[in-house]
Symmetry: C2
């Protein structure tokens, strides 16, 4: 058990690179699956850090990823700081305490809630559970690229429905789902990247138009920012839908990775077939638990975001641009011309030190997307926008 042996932490380092001698040229590499061989090595989004390294300077305002610059609740920060010293322990793989707190808030049972590594992680598990190669999936053309990434990653066939007046076209999504017998339909309400939304009753009606055997993924990442009545009333036992929510947006914990899903127990239980049971951070769960109890902070953030949306709208209008109505923590600003022009505006803002993004697909790509910021962030945006516009018009 040790004794005379020379144990050595140096095993960790330096031994990898030395023995170039051992590698024989011409050895066969691993044999990937046929599906994986066809996939591109891709990144759904380029992170701002990559752009910062490319431009050789940090951004002055970080308004591109719909993060909450207002940060997490101070109670969440304190809980996470306390939890750092106990992060030698794996998190409870059943995520019991967080699920308890969520189910109490949501008036469901434990069996209706799944906690996972952000909505991104849960989307990956969902697609894996339902989509085999060739299976049809429906989404909006220009909606969340990470969902599309997962669908492609499991060989699903995406059927895309155009936006209608900058809104996800719910009727057309349901119609497409029926026509292709979709396994999954993805619908974000409120929507990203346009910021538009439907009232909850529209979603409730859509559910009844959903074909038998199709699961609706209702992505409610931005629901806290939306007007009263945007969240539909759905029986948590309803097997036709799973709602996804997150601590990344209003709760200001994007970098901690906590999302959750609300659905019928049979579906929720199925996540245990595929999920990474010990995948949750213990620190993040402690933070989420504390965040859940701080309604005052949530309310304050929602108010600050509403103010920021107004200010972004005012800045846009002062520059002759059109802000689109938003029920999220960002505003899509219609730059009034085509995608190439909006891209030049975007590039100009980035050159001025403002991290923003834009919708990928026409006609949404006539807009740039600006996340809610503090007054100091929006001051920077306000100064940068006229310069970016001038450069774009040259």
């Amino acid at each position: 058990m040790g004794g005379a042996q020379e144990f050595s932490y140096e095993n960790s380092w330096a031994l990898v690179g030395r023995a170039r001698r051992r590698h024989r040229q011409g050895m066969t590499g691993p044999r990937f699956t046929k599906l994986v061989e066809t996939l591109p090595s891709t990144v759904p989004f380029v992170g701002p850090e990559v752009q910062e390294r490319q431009r050789g300077a940090p951004f002055d305002a970080r308004l591109g990823a719909n993060e909450s610059v207002f940060g997490p609740s101070p109670f969440a920060v304190a809980a996470m700081q306390d939890a750092t010293t106990e992060c030698w322990q794996y998190a409870d793989p059943t995520n019991h305490d967080l699920i308890s707190a969520l189910s109490a808030r949501l008036s469901t049972t434990h069996a209706h809630i799944i906690v996972g590594e952000g909505i991104d992680g849960l989307l990956g598990y969902l697609v894996r559970m339902l989509v085999a190669p060739g299976d049809p999936v429906v989404t909006s053309d220009g909606a969340y690229p990470t969902f599309n990434y997962h669908v492609a990653g499991f060989g699903g066939v995406l059927h895309k429905v155009p936006y209608k007046d900058d809104h996800e076209n719910v009727d057309a999504l349901m119609e497409m789902a029926r026509s292709v017998e979709a396994k999954l339909v993805y619908l974000a309400n409120p929507d990203n990247p346009m910021g538009s939304w439907h009232s909850g009753s529209v979603i409730e009606k859509a559910l009844d138009a959903l074909p038998d055997g199709t699961l609706l993924i209702l992505d409610e990442a931005y629901i806290e920012f939306a007007p009263h009545g945007t969240a539909p009333e759905i029986d948590p036992d309803d097997p036709r839908v799973i709602r996804l929510r997150t601590f990344s947006k209003a709760h200001g914990m994007a970098g901690a990775r906590v999302g959750y899903g609300i659905g019928a127990p049979e579906l929720i239980k199925s996540f245990d077939k595929v999920r990474n049971h010990f995948g949750m951070s213990r620190i993040a769960q402690a933070g989420a638990l504390a965040a859940l109890e701080d309604d005052a902070w949530l309310e304050e953030v929602v108010e600050l975001v509403a103010e920021a949306r107004n200010r972004i709208g005012a800045i846009a209008r002062a520059n002759g641009l059109t802000p689109l109505p938003s029920a999220t923590n960002f505003v899509a600003i219609d730059c009034g011309e085509d995608g190439a022009f909006a891209k030049r505006v975007l590039d100009g803002l980035i050159a001025e030190g403002v991290f923003v993004r834009m919708p990928f697909v026409a006609p949404g790509n006539r807009a740039i997307r600006v996340s809610a910021g503090r007054p100091v962030d929006l001051d920077i945006f306000e100064k940068a926008l006229p310069k970016a516009l001038a450069a774009a018009r040259k």
Copy 2:
């Protein structure tokens, strides 16, 4: 942009459970893939928190999951605490800074390193990339259950090789890989759950016995605790092997979820096809970066673990049991009888408030597995073991 709308954080809560009216009985649920339909809803390991809830009391000593009760480096704790306030930001999806630091320590390039959500997360990605339904995979019978869980989860066929004298049987693993034309061979060195190890030269030789087109997954989660010479010398460009390492064990950050892989660039790049690009915790990465620079802490932990192993061995011998040699942060204690007896000893320890686990498969299951603890933890173990043995012998 807000204005007259009543935005409401209350969208988050309470709307889910209300409208029971909307659920029509008899609706078809989602259609799972054929593969997922065959999978059990399972948990590779039951967590200690579940057992604590069942027994209605916390454990007095947590020695069952090979966590490092000595905790992370104080610098890592400080870095994580600092990072909590910036966790409103997503982590850099390229994990650039951590990969830079790792590649500098390991004398590789960036292109040789992948960072992921613990070794568990990386194992899931690897299996997904290489194993289609029916594909053969080789491991040792009684080795890491989470690997087996992932293989089953992607429909792979596991071929298991018995341990030999409580060691993974490297020659037999290679022979089995040849005979079934395995896509993957899993080998942990040092081994879990027995704690045994092979010298690096054995692994180097095994690599040359590996059939063409088979990838060796060399799990080195415990490498920091092993005698000098346990880490093989492998060209990082060698396409036949990927080494997996972690911040969960010697670095004391199991609950933060940071693992990494070292392999040939083509394989490393392929992770970008399937991984959750924004899956890493920003807080965890800050901690890992700081931990990497604190060699003094790592050395101290390795020494404390060696002392703890000696003490566990002494306690075992004082009770007439046989500690097995270990190059890890745990000791498998041969209880001298069969699996049923060891299970009774284990249950007795748990009843006494000591969380321990045991190997699942005979003949390893004649042992219980006790993680290195502080003197105070091992005092509790020392008191509990005779009682557990007496109860087991009744």
